[in-house]
């Protein structure tokens, strides 16, 4: 392997990962800046300026005294932070951005996260000055905001087959929590407050377990059958008069459609439980099946997944929740409805509190700017675009799986599949894939598949990109453990020591200074 380059330049002739035989070689090097033996310095390493803060009588020799209009006993003594010029900051953040892999950098087949391309125009509409309103404005003065929320509620209701929708939850997990709280309120209202169990398949997203627990429920884990789907006998055994809900993803995290969904719904409903739909995998179903039609009572939508709002390095997302009519009175407050007609004949919109509302799950109305982007995306695609997105997402997953040499034990899958790295360590496979200029899949989960590589290419990749992805998979599949363990080599940082990070946590520049 070549020497580590100190300046981030691309070295001529340096050995890079090769594509599979006969294909064009892809040479990949991620940006890297090194100064004084370290990557791009922290802001605090460029400058730290202490400003003394004191009342009118305070003095400071440095001349940096910030005279405060407040008495000394109500103020802090000083504040110490970086003080840099705008050009210095522009370079700092430009460099940081170049040391990040995003969906605009290349394929990002992170299973269950639905990393699809984020249209640029939705950023522009979210940045409209008319979108910037204070949450305490009078309803009369923000008819535009209320209309957009109303229309989005309506769109989501139609797409999910749900009767009522709240846009308040600021993320998918927050949506799950709302679903759990709504289920609890519904059971309580019906005199069924004794129900204290929520059933979650072993293969479900970790948030399902955590959200149910946060809602105060005991979590009953449900094993999968040999085909990777809900084991109906195990479900029968798990269901009881204590069941508040079953949380299900369909297609599940293996990409498999729960074909017995009608029977599952009947079984859950027979014991008086509710069926919750985790919308993380909704991208596979757009225009082809709707949770409401399958018997689900409550669901959340991950708009940052299905409706292409940017994931933002970990958020913000939005997790609207849809419910059937019986559960609508329990939704968070307030919701939006049509309230009359304006002088010009347009409908007017108003906020209202559902009758048995659980109250709020966010200080205001969730991540508004994200909702604007989701609305614009849905309005852009329409019926045909949405259905086409799911068709091509499924086609892409099947195509990619057919091209890779790792074993894919469960099928027929839809928008994602879980391959097994077999004798290789999936985490090492992922590190090595980084060297080929592609983002790796989700690894080691779900645990049903040994050394899992959970892969979701989404609809936005074309044949060429999928071939390049497959070439990366296959190149890594042919490599030995030593190569994998030494990876990555072409990324900003080399393999990072996770263990020591957790053993002696250093979580701020102040902690580094103390060393």
């Amino acid at each position: 392997m070549s020497e580590d380059r100190e300046d981030g330049s691309v070295g001529e002739g340096a050995a890079g990962p090769e594509g599979t035989a006969g294909e064009e070689q892809v040479r990949y090097d991620q940006a890297r800046y090194v100064e004084n033996g370290q990557y791009e310095p922290l802001l605090s390493e460029k400058d730290l300026t202490r400003v003394e803060i004191g009342g009118a009588d305070a003095t400071d020799e440095t001349g940096d005294d910030a005279e405060s209009p407040l008495p000394d006993d109500l103020t802090r003594g000083s504040l110490e932070l970086p003080e840099l010029s705008e050009p210095e900051l522009a370079r700092h953040y430009t460099r940081l951005s170049q040391m990040i892999y995003g969906i605009d950098s290349g394929p990002y087949p992170l299973g269950s996260c639905t990393m699809k391309y984020n249209p640029k125009f939705t950023e522009d509409v979210a940045a409209l000055p008319t979108a910037a309103v204070h949450p305490d404005r009078s309803e009369r003065s923000i008819q535009g905001t209320l209309e957009l929320l109303y229309r989005l509620q309506d769109y989501l209701g139609r797409i999910g087959g749900m009767d009522a929708v709240t846009l308040q939850p600021p993320a998918g997990a927050a949506g799950e929590f709302v679903g759990i709280r709504v289920a609890a309120a519904y059971h309580e209202h019906n005199g069924e407050g004794h129900r204290d169990e929520v059933i979650v398949p072993e293969s479900a997203h970790g948030t399902n377990f955590a959200s149910a627990a946060l809602g105060g429920y005991d979590v009953v884990a449900l094993p999968s059958d040999d085909d990777g789907r809900v084991d109906l006998e195990a479900l029968e055994a798990a269901l009881s008069e204590n069941t508040a809900a079953l949380m299900l993803t369909n297609p599940n995290t293996l990409g498999l459609f729960e074909r017995d969904i009608e029977e599952i719904a009947a079984m859950v409903h027979d014991v008086g439980g509710l069926l919750y739909y985790d919308g993380a995998n909704l991208n596979a179903l757009l225009g082809r099946a709707r949770p409401g039609d399958m018997g689900f009572d409550v669901m959340h939508y991950n708009v940052h997944k299905t409706f292409a709002t940017p994931h933002g390095g970990g958020g913000p997302g939005a997790g609207p929740v849809g419910v059937v009519e019986d559960l609508a009175p329990f939704l968070p407050a307030p919701r939006v409805r049509e309230g009359g007609t304006s002088k010009s004949g347009d409908p007017t919109y108003e906020l209202f509190d559902p009758e048995q509302t659980i109250g709020k799950v966010h200080g205001y109305q969730g991540n508004w700017l994200v909702l604007v982007k989701a609305f614009a995306y849905i309005a852009r695609l329409g019926d045909e675009g949405l259905a086409d997105a799911s068709a091509k997402a499924v086609l892409n997953a099947n195509y990619l799986a057919s091209r890779i040499e790792y074993d894919v034990p469960y099928e027929p899958f839809h928008h994602e599949f879980v391959a097994s790295a077999g004798d290789q360590d999936a985490a090492d496979v992922a590190k090595r894939m980084l060297d080929y200029g592609v983002h790796p899949p989700t690894t080691k989960w779900p645990e049903i598949v040994p050394e899992a590589l959970m892969t979701e290419p989404t609809e936005v990749e074309g044949e060429d990109t999928l071939d390049r992805l497959a070439a990366a998979f296959n190149a890594v599949a042919a490599e030995d453990d030593a190569t994998l363990e030494a990876a990555p080599d072409r990324t900003t940082a080399r393999r990072i020591d996770q263990t020591s990070a957790a053993r002696s946590p250093r979580l701020s520049w102040q902690a580094l200074e103390e060393e």
Partner: protein
């Protein structure tokens, strides 16, 4: 080539020829063959949503949002229209920041991890506490997480969570939902002239309390004067002292660590985000003692194989994707990009700029209050306290009618009961405040 995408997803690049080749490769006649959905649950209807061109969609959204009135917002209570420098928009919008996800592969995510590490460090300096996570959804959910943390870390079995009677309804309600699955119960303690009523709190607090919450500044814009006493009362009763604040206020007000705060929550999006109909950024900081009980993500420093410092998500065994139902929180997707914006805005201001912004919130509020107080039939500020950014105004005339009249003249204010409004100077340019005073004089005349 790729065609016009007159139908179908405009973001799926497949040509017809490509699609045919791919179908052939997977051995399917049509895409429909790849779907394994039982006929009984297949959807054969229509959503009735028309596809539009990008230009038409932009026009649609612009037309809908155009129904919002253009008002000068003298509104506060945690959300402020501070000017956000262009640097923040242009650099945070760089697509690597915007289009990446959680940094599960740190080797290709160093830029974002470092920015979040810098954000955490900002909060450590502002609060004086050792640990800050890299975001919660907003102030209300951060408060809810603080309560569940209190339940986990508190030694004895207690159940009472004490909050001020002035706590915003949205925060109180969210907190109630977060503790609904626990044995905790939320109770209000009285306030005195908008600040904590220390005598009343002393009477109320006992060893059954797991947490006492106060805000600085308060929802009425007043600056708390007895926070050390609140801290002492909490400590004496083995309750966590949770303090609500924000980065601008924290730039000059008493350092939370110095008044005995165990946890600081609040909305950090006062920096970096325009008023966004309540979208926020929950800040969460605490002491090292509770490190392993912190909710949400933490970025830590480590080394890579070249022994250079590198950053990574750490202590993930607290998190839902590993710990499942025993996780410290269910949060997964957070507000990372907003945290990035906040850190950028703070870096742009620097310590002098932050302190200056906070101080101006004190002096401008005092100036405006003085001018309103000069008007006959008006008293401002109502509370005999120091104020930051906002204050309450008592008016002889009915407040809702006055607020409606002000709105017709282009100004939005909070209504507080029959004869009081609340106004906020944050982010409002001086000339707008001039016009507001003139309008206010007219409507109360």
């Amino acid at each position: 080539m790729h065609g016009s995408h007159a139908t179908g997803s405009p973001y799926a690049p497949h040509t017809d020829a490509e699609r045919s080749r791919m179908l052939e490769e997977v051995g399917a006649e049509s895409v429909e063959d790849l779907f394994d959905i039982p006929a009984a649950v297949e959807f054969d209807g229509e959503f009735g949503i028309d596809a539009r061109s990008e230009r038409e969609t932009r026009r649609l959204v612009r037309s809908i949002l155009g129904r919002n009135d253009d008002l000068t917002e003298l509104l506060g209570r945690g959300h402020y229209g501070y000017y956000v420098p262009s640097l923040v928009d242009h650099l945070a919008d760089r697509s690597e920041f915007l289009t990446s996800y959680t940094q599960y592969q740190p080797e290709v995510s160093q830029g974002f991890l470092q920015a979040l590490f810098e954000y955490q460090s900002l909060l450590v300096e502002l609060t004086g506490l050792e640990v800050a996570n890299c975001s919660m959804y907003d102030a209300a959910t951060a408060l809810g997480e603080a309560a569940t943390l209190a339940e986990r870390v508190r030694d004895t079995t207690g159940y009472r969570v004490l909050v001020p009677d002035l706590l915003l309804e949205g925060r109180r309600s969210t907190l109630e939902n977060y503790v609904a699955g626990t044995d905790l119960a939320v109770e209000a303690y009285p306030t005195d002239d908008a600040n904590v009523d220390l005598a009343a709190l002393e009477d109320l607090i006992d060893e059954e309390c797991v947490m006492v919450y106060a805000e600085n500044p308060t929802v009425r814009g007043t600056i708390e004067e007895g926070l050390e006493s609140v801290g002492d009362l909490a400590a004496e009763n083995d309750a966590l002292f949770v303090l609500g604040s924000d980065p601008i206020a924290l730039s000059v007000l008493q350092r939370p660590a110095d008044v005995g705060a165990d946890v600081v929550v609040g909305d950090a999006s006062v920096l970096g985000l325009p008023t966004s109909y309540g979208m926020g950024l929950g800040l969460f900081a605490t002491t090292e003692d509770y490190l392993r009980q912190v909710p949400g993500r933490l970025v830590g420093a480590s080394e890579d194989a070249t022994d250079r410092r590198a950053y990574t998500l750490t202590l993930q065994t607290r998190e839902q994707h590993i710990r499942r139902e025993r996780a410290t929180s269910n949060i997964c997707t957070n507000q990372a990009w907003v945290a990035l914006r906040t850190a950028m805005h703070a870096a742009y201001l620097g310590p002098s700029g932050m302190v200056d912004l906070a101080n101006r919130g004190v002096t401008r509020a005092a100036d405006l209050a003085e001018r309103l107080d000069d008007i006959v039939g008006v008293k401002a500020p109502v509370h005999d306290r120091h104020h930051l950014r906002e204050f309450v105004v008592r008016i002889d005339q009915p407040a809702p009618a006055i607020a409606a009249d002000l709105e017709k003249r282009g100004f939005a204010v909070h209504v507080l009961g029959d004869h009081a409004i609340q106004v906020c100077v944050a982010g409002v340019p001086d000339e707008r405040l001039e016009r507001f005073v003139a309008a206010f004089e007219e409507v109360v005349r």
